[in-house]
Symmetry: C2
Subunit: 205 residues, 2 copies
């Protein structure tokens, strides 16, 4: 069970640590330090040690971290030592790109279904998936026991889709539509909107 | 010029406020309050007032904010009262989806060029763009005076591309490749990696 005393911003850094550790493993590395991790990530070594210490003791003073062990521990903390099925809603450019994305492998996620409402898209292929009819969204998601979804519909449809996902039992939504969603307290939402990231940078230019 | 005393996390919320305000304008609304904005965004009214007060006085106690005026002020603060040209590097699924993305309009951004290194892609069409040869990346970006770029290449190529973008004068990079980039201090980088967002949510499931 998640520890409610740990700030979400700390949780938000764990996937970044895990990604760096998995990259080191791919480079055939076995031991690292908070200093090295910090340099790779532009985060202070002290911050990394403090974040990790909230979950236990993962390294020994002076000998650093076993990359394999630390990665496995973070996977367990984030619940990605299992593979989560993901439903994608919207088979446009973004939804199709996400459904075909190779970057989920070995990171605890796999897309298992994609939905659209356009007759021209329903039944067509996106990568290895056949686009499903959004009319069957709730029943298909319930039957599949899917808890994680991505919304890649136009903004105008996103809240309606979110409501259906919630009633089908989805508990985590990654929303690509550029609009804030209203959900119940037991559901998490994260947002991806490239313009938000870009505008945050143009402030400094 | 950016005020260095304003935390980046505050800057990061301004685009979210702006997006909500623009949505209200599209709904033909003219006046709002920190309470209403807060409810739409799941951010406390006090936080919104505090954030905005760092930049000046945008509303009157009791009468709320003029949506038009506040949106215009935030656009000026974020430097998106102008339109920034964007170069996209990588014409795969993600790069192509981003290049065709309709969501940049009226938000201070426009894609103006897309590059790839694959002979099969160079010269082909992505939306209204003809894919350019990455061999000409630096000269094309310099000539265009482009300061903002998105990297949508495989991880292995992302740092090399970033180095070239920097030498061409790019100052802001939105990186879709799931790897941290090393850049000089005068360059901003933001990251979009759906797995990072998903793993942050599965912690709570």
């Amino acid at each position: 069970m998640p520890d409610k005393n740990i700030p979400d911003i700390v949780i938000g850094r764990l996937p970044i640590y895990l990604r760096a550790l998995q990259r080191m493993l791919a480079e055939n590395r076995h031991v690292t330090s908070s200093q090295e991790l910090g340099e790779r990530l532009g985060i202070s070594a002290a911050q990394i040690r403090k974040d990790l210490s909230q979950f236990g003791e993962f390294g020994k003073q002076g000998t650093g971290y076993s990359i394999d062990y630390l990665a496995e521990q973070i996977r367990q903390i984030l619940n990605v030592d299992q593979v989560w099925d993901i439903a994608v809603v919207g088979a446009g450019d973004i939804g199709s790109a996400v459904a075909r994305y190779q970057g989920f492998a070995n990171r605890g996620m796999q897309v298992t279904m994609i939905f659209d409402n356009a007759p021209s898209k329903i039944g067509s292929k996106v990568g290895s998936f056949t686009v499903k009819d959004i009319a069957n969204l709730e029943s298909d998601i319930k039957r599949g026991g899917v808890k994680v979804a991505m919304i890649a519909t136009p903004s105008e449809k996103a809240q309606e889709v979110a409501d259906k996902l919630l009633s089908a039992g989805v508990k985590a939504i990654l929303n690509y539509a550029p609009i804030n969603l209203t959900v119940t307290d037991d559901v998490r939402v994260q947002y991806i909107d490239p313009v938000i990231h870009l505008q945050r940078m143009t402030y400094y230019l």
